[in-house]
């Protein structure tokens, strides 16, 4: 019998801890390195996010690191060649940065808005935003406009926190979890850990989704809903709860604006605003005093329901009264919702009652003393163990803002906000509702902006428009077309710039964004736009700079390519000032540091940004004598302070590293992080862990840590006065800026509803649904979500081709069989693709995996790769503009409130392809290989054990 095999020789191995970047989840990783190669990446079991586990993407990081798609040198489009022809010269970093900084210096000195800087899937937006702010351009945003701004904005305008980065289900205590729409896009490992915790405790997991894939596979109940109807379902459940008086009275009175009084003067200015005293405090009707009193006084006893007349003769009603009047209407009955959502009425009623049972009959407590905002002591936290999550499936519709608010309304009525078992906030959230900070409006040569380019408008005065009401930003964010576009509209930048509407720009810079391919709607036209020239032969977008680590389709269209490193080769700060990774019980941040030596002439983009900022002498990056203030990114992270004591990293602050959250810069801060496995966590005391919107000790802590300005209670808003102000502008009743174009007036009056409501998605209102009867949505498979590069040699073995998936019985009724070729047509175009019939698909819906299709020759793939010959994009069918209407300017295909790209609103028809019509269509030309691109091996035999 052979002896046991030998164990691995660890003598040449080194263990390093860092943070994964195979997706947006940011798990802790423990990496074994052998001879500058990755031997093994595993989850760091001490890390707050993933607690030792790791997903398929994380383990496949090895293949990202050896991808032939990695860029190797800065590239300049060869003079005399056409954009998009793929002819590049390798140039030095000095040449590249001189070229760029000269161009940018000229723009900054003349019209800074001619530089548009849009960043994709990065997690270092605080630095890129600071750069744009200091440069003085309004034209900066990240990718949230086509990702999930609806979800984020709805949360921040209702609860002061939102799903995913700002909040999580209480996985350790929740008994009933309702998942709305696709969720594999965010929260990869924490979600899987949480679902297992819930199920092993015997909790119920309800999945509301047109497709039964991903997490929905293990849902205890699958509710196949028609896409884009989530608000109706949520509000029908609200109807059931209200009609049976199943809501949390105390919670609504104490912590929400439910008892606030709303002025009822239809047709008169001020209608629908909160009734306030001279100091601006909201008034309530005190049941004991029988008088109007300041609703922010703790001693009052407000009426939850009622209609009253003010001393000046105006009628006012409580928010809760308006809410009950609205949702008790038969328009929101389960029977009506059943017709819209495609879910049986009795199912809707039962789900609402199940949640009410768990919330009110299976109440839990955490016996910890805490003090509320008014100083009242409580001996325990009361938990209503129902929790929810929603992400892109709800967000990527033009009614997604109101749908996400409707889901929050349901949670609020059940009292499940930041309580044990409910939906918990994560630091630095919650923040006041709506969040403070207004978007910058004024750009001037050689001058930094006076605030952040993005912010949270609460009234028409906050819009970023000129005196004539025209948009000041290239993406038209914060204009009448998208008034609370908190994440910008990156999906409109190319179209608007090419149309010179609102104005032409000079230099467009994309970081980690595949805007010439799967990150844009309408891919074919977008590629044409990038090539478009004006009458003088100049490109309509004169200079396109692309920063990426890999050879994407967009790199192919660049005039200048700045190559980035991988996540294993650079320093990164995953900061509380940026995209936080806190857990409900702990304030957290983390870092990356180089654990592999560079083998190519590439630079971390953050180093390049600091370098450029110094060359351009941007004030925050420059000493009084004009020399660069920071030697590089590491130095910047250590020494930059947003306000005294508050920097990018919250751990080991103070000169000796003894302070947490706040403290002067520590020159050894990076070393402390590296010694501590790359992350910092500050465990909140038990009394700070729940009800944070009204928890005095937590609010004071949050103020001291710089999370919020004042330790005042955060009032949860069922009714949004901010939204109503915009509606009044649309109705011509606002004492301030009002839109002139009738279409803007109509959109504000219709969609800016201070209470969440359901309306049919905008594109669907304009197309013939008998001609296009199927809803069409797409999602990413779990093993690739946010991993962005399906060229990964291991992951693409799991999936390298997508299909259009449809309900089996429905397909068969149309004479369609498995593997048939079909035409999928929308109002915008058509594609030919292959079908798979499945049970797990709502009957009126088709869907596919997105981002699988690639342009031939990109991403290090060989011509003929399955992604290019069999994979496809649904993007060709989706327009970034709404279908035209006579007499109306073209409008973005986005949520009319937030500007969220409505790429889930698509409707299509499916027809079998003619005999002989086979293969994916459209096809794209093969992309020319980049200079110095390595050969793609026919066989890969990755192995770090070859030394012996």
């Amino acid at each position: 019998m052979p002896s046991a095999p030998p164990f691995e020789d660890h003598s040449h191995q080194e263990i390093k801890y860092s943070t994964c970047y195979m997706c947006a989840c940011r798990c802790g990783i423990k990496v074994t390195i052998e001879d500058n190669k990755v031997r093994f990446i595993q989850g760091n079991r001490n890390h707050p996010i993933n607690k030792g586990v790791l997903c398929a993407k994380g383990s496949a990081g090895i293949m990202k690191q050896c991808s032939p798609a990695r860029l190797r040198n800065p590239l300049l489009r060869k003079p005399g060649t056409e954009r998009g022809a793929g002819e590049f010269l390798e140039i030095s970093w000095d040449e590249a940065l001189n070229l760029l900084s000269e161009r940018l210096a000229h723009i900054r000195a003349t019209d800074p808005n001619k530089f548009a800087f849009f960043t994709g899937r990065d997690q270092m937006q605080a630095l890129s935003r600071l750069f744009a702010e200091q440069f003085g351009t309004l034209n900066w945003s990240a990718h949230g406009g086509f990702c999930s701004v609806n979800m984020a904005a709805a949360g921040l305008y209702s609860l002061g926190y939102a799903f995913w980065e700002f909040g999580d289900p209480d996985w350790d205590r929740t008994k009933y979890f309702m998942l709305w729409g696709v969720a594999e896009d965010h929260s990869s490992n924490p979600f899987k850990i949480g679902i297992e915790k819930l199920k092993s405790r015997g909790g119920k997991f309800v999945g509301i989704n047109p497709a039964r894939t991903g997490y929905q596979a293990v849902a205890d109940e699958w509710v196949p809903i028609r896409p884009g109807t989530d608000a109706m379902l949520a509000l029908a459940m609200v109807h059931v709860l209200l009609s049976r008086e199943l809501f949390d009275w105390e919670f609504l009175i104490r912590y929400t604006n439910a008892p606030f009084l709303v002025v009822q003067t239809p047709g008169v200015a001020g209608d629908g605003l909160i009734y306030r005293d001279a100091a601006g405090q909201p008034l309530v009707w005190d049941l004991q005093k029988e008088a109007f009193v300041n609703g922010m006084e703790s001693s009052c006893h407000p009426a939850l329901f009622g209609e009253y007349t003010t001393p000046d003769g105006r009628v006012v009603k409580t928010v809760m009264t308006l809410l009950a009047e609205r949702y008790l209407d038969p328009r929101f009955s389960p029977a009506q919702a059943a017709r819209i959502c495609g879910i049986p009425a009795d199912t809707i009623e039962r789900l609402a009652l199940e949640m009410a049972h768990v919330a009110f009959k299976e109440t839990i407590t955490v016996d910890v003393e805490w003090t509320d905002w008014a100083g009242r002591k409580h001996d325990r936290f009361i938990g209503r163990p129902v929790s929810m999550h929603a992400m892109r499936g709800v967000s990527a519709h033009s009614n997604g803002f109101q749908a996400a608010r409707a889901i929050h309304l349901l949670q609020i009525l059940l009292g499940t906000i930041d309580c044990p078992g409910g939906f918990r906030a994560k630091a630095p959230y919650p923040r006041p509702v709506p969040a403070p900070g207004k978007p910058a409006k004024h750009s001037a040569p050689n001058t930094p902006l006076d605030s952040h380019p993005l912010g949270f408008p609460t009234a028409p005065e906050d819009l970023v428009i000129d005196d004539n009401g025209r948009p000041l930003r290239i993406d038209k964010a914060y204009s009448w077309e998208a008034p609370i576009a908190n994440h910008g509209l990156m999906h409109m930048v190319i179209t608007n710039a090419v149309n010179g509407d609102p104005y032409p720009i000079d230099t467009l810079l994309f970081f980690m964004a595949n805007m010439a391919w799967n990150s844009s709607m309408n891919t074919v036209n977008i590629q044409e736009m990038l090539r478009a020239k004006d009458d003088t032969g100049e490109y309509k977008i004169p200079f396109l700079v692309v920063v990426d680590a890999f050879h994407s389709e967009t790199v192919h269209f660049a005039d200048l390519v700045l190559p980035d490193t991988t996540y294993l080769e650079r320093y990164d700060a995953i900061s509380l000032l940026d995209r936080p990774i806190s857990e409900p019980d702990a304030v957290c941040d983390s870092i990356r540091h180089p654990i592999l030596e560079l083998d190519r002439n590439v630079r971390p983009w953050q180093e390049v940004l600091i370098d450029l900022a110094g060359r351009l002498k941007l004030p925050a990056f420059t000493n009084p004598d004009g020399t660069p203030k920071y030697t590089g990114y590491k130095d910047f992270i250590i020494r930059y302070e947003r306000s005294p004591g508050i920097g990018f990293l919250a751990g080991w602050r103070g000169a000796d590293g003894s302070q947490s959250l706040r403290g002067e810069p520590n020159p050894q801060q990076w070393e402390r992080y590296i010694e501590n496995q790359g992350f910092f966590q500050y465990h909140l005391p038990k009394s700070h862990r729940y009800m944070r919107f009204a928890n005095r000790d937590y609010l004071e802590f949050a103020r001291d840590a710089g999370f919020i300005a004042q330790a005042e209670p955060i009032v949860i808003e069922l009714y949004s006065e901010a939204i109503q102000r915009f509606r009044l502008a649309g109705l011509g009743l606002y004492d301030g800026p009002q839109p002139q174009d009738p279409v803007d007036r109509e959109r504000l009056a219709t969609y800016f509803d201070p209470l969440p409501d359901y309306y049919e998605p905008l594109e669907q209102q304009r197309i013939d649904k008998t001609a296009y009867p199927f809803f069409a949505v797409n999602q990413r498979p779990m093993m690739m979500y946010h991993s962005w590069d399906s060229q990964n040699a291991w992951l693409r073995q799991i999936i390298a081709q997508n299909h259009i998936y449809m309900n089996r019985a429905k397909g068969e009724s149309l004479g369609i069989h498995d593997d048939d070729w079909v035409w999928v047509e929308s109002h915008n175009g058509k594609i030919r693709v292959q079908v798979k019939l499945i049970e797990g698909c709502q009957e009126d819906t088709v869907w596919t995996w997105n981002g699988i299709g690639k342009q031939s020759g990109t991403w290090g793939l060989k011509p003929g790769a399955a992604e290019a010959t069999q994979g496809f994009l649904m993007n060709h069918l989706i327009s970034e503009l709404l279908p035209p209407k006579a007499g109306e300017r073209r409008l973005t295909n986005s949520d009319p409130i937030t500007g969220q790209a409505a790429w889930y609103d698509l409707m299509v028809r499916i027809t079998p392809a003619a005999p002989g019509e086979e293969g994916v269509w459209p096809t794209f030309e093969n992309v020319t290989p980049l200079p110095g691109a390595p050969a793609k091996p026919d066989v890969l035999r990755y192995n770090t054990r070859t030394r012996s």
């Binding site: 093994f40 293990v218 091996p937």
Partner: protein, 231 residues
């Protein structure tokens, strides 16, 4: 001792973390490397020890999706060992792990034909058969921290749907969970006596709703009696 895996079909979300972690560990482990063919071309494929299949059961809308990871079952009656003409395949008496001695294997594929679970794969580059080793080079390696002496797939699984242990020991955690959850072996009728076990999806009692109050829709909202609650 009979070492093996228990796989929880109630929580396996089909994410392929186990498959990729396995590939990652084993491409540099005792049967390294696990070759990949045409990794950037038309039909990428390669050697994997663990693959996740996806099935649907039932008809819409009462359908369910089952994610089903499959790897070597480390059978008690390992026919793959019996048929091996070179003696390369062997089952370790001390822990029941089935291994392939790469120095003796000639890649004849007999073992893969004998295996009803599709667990054995031919590495065309090395010309040898490869398969799940239960990470035998991790689980006994005392230079690794004790909690990491687990198969790579078990360490990685984000849904904790994979458990590793001694299925011969009735008191082990894996044996207990198999008893409690009605775990089963795959295709027992073939009498290979697989060691690995699968836990079926849980069924849950209905949530009662009869105990909830019944407010009245009939009364108008403004007549609702307010409750006195201090703000």
């Amino acid at each position: 001792m009979r070492l093996g895996l228990v796989i929880d079909l109630d929580t396996c979300v089909g994410c392929h973390a186990c498959a990729t972690a396995c590939k990652e560990w084993n491409t540099s482990a005792i049967t390294a490397p696990l070759s990949d063919y045409d990794p950037y071309g038309r039909e990428p494929s390669g050697v994997w020890f663990n693959r996740v299949r996806h099935y649907e059961i039932g008809e819409y809308p009462n359908n369910k999706t089952i994610n089903f990871p499959m790897s070597c079952m480390h059978c008690e009656n390992a026919e793959c060992v019996t048929v091996c003409p070179t003696g390369a395949s062997y089952k370790r008496p001390e822990d029941g792990i089935v291994l392939v001695d790469q120095d003796k294997c000639m890649g004849c594929n007999y073992c893969s034909w004998a295996c009803p679970y599709g667990a054995r794969e031919l590495d065309r580059e090395s010309g040898t058969m490869k398969k799940c080793t239960l990470c035998v080079d991790r689980i006994y390696d005392e230079s690794l921290p004790e909690e990491e002496r687990q198969p790579a797939c078990v360490l990685a699984c984000p849904a904790h749907a994979r458990l590793f242990g001694d299925l011969e020991d009735a008191q082990s955690a894996v044996s207990r969970v198999v008893r409690e959850r009605g775990g089963y072996a795959l295709m027992p009728e073939l009498n290979y006596q697989p060691t690995n076990q699968y836990l079926p999806p849980r069924t849950r009692p209905a949530i009662p709703t009869h105990d909830l109050g019944r407010g009245s829709l009939a009364r108008k909202v403004k007549e609702w009696v307010n409750r006195v609650v201090e703000r």
